[in-house]
């Protein structure tokens, strides 16, 4: 994974834009790479343009032009946006502590550099598992495993809104989906935490140890405070990723459109934008597809906000 915390400024003095000479070959080559850079920027502009042109007008569409027999775009988009944020929040709740912990294990707590590298490889591999495989795993392995737990939660903690109502017998709940997405974003967050822990000045850690701090006290006073914005940045970027996760959620979550509910163990769950697009797309045509593109635009906006916020915090972390 490319380091997110690495400074955007060049590490070495750039060769600059001065004419280095070289004639026609040089002009052709520099023109070629320049147009590649322009093309990359143009692709993004194109994506935004296509989404806006096709999806924008659907925000004012009425009944009949919308999927799932919705009567207005926002009647559809509101609960879906809630679902996306809700599942992402559950995922983040599951992923944060393990991500910080495993990042500590790979840096401060690593018994040897080799162990650190091994954990890095495990994290890379976990990040590389395709979401459709996670979907299959969540659906057929994790969900059945969780149903007894949901029964127990309902029996003992039903006074909390999260666990009231009949629990799902299939286990395909918001909690299961959140757990699966949590596993998927864990390596992303851990990688960024690891980077920011590695930025802790060794002198600071040695100073804390020399003052007689235990290892945990050293971590708490020297490592975590300096890395705090790195951890927040990792969480934000992971959030962006969780919001966009499609297949795992589409496969695991047994979703009902238009539903807003905080119950995490129910057979009826709020749907997420991404999963809704994927499942409604094959059955949609004409204006309905435009509405799905409009939903995509909303999803893009939300996850972009999350990652912009994350990158802001990350930059601050590096600047400090």
């Amino acid at each position: 994974m490319a380091p997110v915390l690495a400074a955007p400024k060049p590490a070495l003095p750039p060769t600059g834009d001065t004419p280095g000479g070289g004639g026609a070959g040089e002009r052709a080559f520099s023109w070629g790479v320049r147009s590649a850079a322009i093309a990359v920027a143009a692709i993004l502009v194109g994506v935004l343009a296509f989404l806006t042109i096709r999806g924008g007008p659907s925000m004012f569409a009425g009944a009949g032009d919308l999927p799932a027999r919705a009567t207005s775009f926002f009647q559809l988009a509101g609960p879906l946006a809630f679902g996306s944020l809700w599942v992402a929040a559950i995922a983040l709740a599951f992923a944060t502590l393990p991500a910080v912990g495993v990042a500590l294990a790979a840096t401060v707590y690593a018994p040897s550099p080799r162990f650190g590298r091994f954990l890095g490889a495990v994290l890379d591999l976990l990040a590389a598992v395709p979401s459709v495989v996670f979907g299959l795993w969540g659906l057929m392995v994790l969900a059945p495993l969780m149903t007894p737990v949901y029964g127990w939660l309902h029996d003992h903690l039903a006074f909390l809104p999260f666990f009231s109502g009949e629990p799902s017998v299939t286990g395909r709940t918001a909690l299961t989906a959140g757990m699966v997405v949590g596993v998927m974003i864990l390596p992303i967050m851990a990688a960024i935490c690891r980077e920011s822990f590695a930025l802790t000045p060794p002198a600071l850690m040695e100073a804390a140890t020399a003052l007689g701090a235990t290892r945990w006290e050293m971590v708490r006073t020297a490592v975590l405070p300096t890395a705090r914005s790195g951890i927040v940045a990792g969480g934000m970027l992971a959030l962006g990723r969780a919001l966009g996760e499609t297949m795992a959620v589409a496969m695991v979550l047994s979703a009902t459109p238009f539903l807003i509910s905080f119950n995490v163990i129910s057979p009826e769950n709020p749907a997420t934008i991404a999963a809704f697009i994927a499942s409604a797309f094959p059955e949609s045509a004409g204006r309905q597809v435009d509405a799905l593109i409009g939903l995509g635009l909303v999803l893009f906006a939300i996850s972009l906000l999350a990652s912009i916020a994350g990158r802001r915090v990350a930059r601050k972390a590096v600047a400090r």
Partner: protein
Amino acid sequence: MTATIPSAAGGAAARVHTSPAADPLDGPLAALAAAPWAAPGGAAAWPATPAPGSISIRAVSCFYGSHLAVADVSLEIPGRAVTAFIGPSGCGKSTLLRSINRMHEFIPGARAHGTIELDGVDLNAKGVDPVAVRSKIGMVFQKPNPFPAMSIRDNVLAGLIIRGERPPRAAADDLVEKSLRRAHLWEEVKDRLKKPGDSLSGGQQQRLCIARAVAVEPHVVLMDEPCSALDPISTLAIEELMRDLARDYTVVVVTHNMAQANRISDVTAFFSLAKAGQPGRLVESGPTADLFTAPQVAATRDYIEGRFG
């Protein structure tokens, strides 16, 4: 510009072959020398008469953005001799050195004003391709920097390889041997030419870089503190080599080591600056023996006697 040039077309090709010994590389090297020197249709060519590879620097000032790094330097560098630039850090020796083969153009914001001529040809004239300037004025850097992705042999041929020229194998072999011999490295590496360039020791790497520089048959070799990253024994080997190189090339070396300047150079130029942030200036220059025994300026004497800063 053409007015100062006595020779006619063909002079460019002729100049290269003044190097001693039969040159087996007539083909590619002649092409190199003749081809890219001037703009198409331009009449620029190398004159045959003055000492080959003599450089005259006239009223040169170097800037980084708006900061004046070197002010108003005028200096004659004789051909086929070693000229040393000495002076305290930050006095602009390296900046001036880089502006001689226009390497400063790759530092953002760096500019040089004034005239620099190689054998009477203005290197900054319109239509002169900086790429061609660099093929006539080679450079050796502070840290040895052989290309790690190339073998020792390919490193020597790098000038040709990078330019995309493919000399016949026999000619290339000859060029490799000749250049490595010239760099006093042949005996040490002749059995492992296929090994990567960075498998050598630091001193050997630096000599490899010198072989690489002379393999493109430049007139001038610029050296930017070539020994500062080396141990004393490797330094000695390079110093010996520099003396030897001066028989065929003009050598300009920036050094912090005054004893070294005294040992190896024919001409020494002493640069200094009033204080940090002020531009560097040429204080005094002359035959090395004179400058070290009877400096004309008090600042030079102080520096040579170690009383500076």
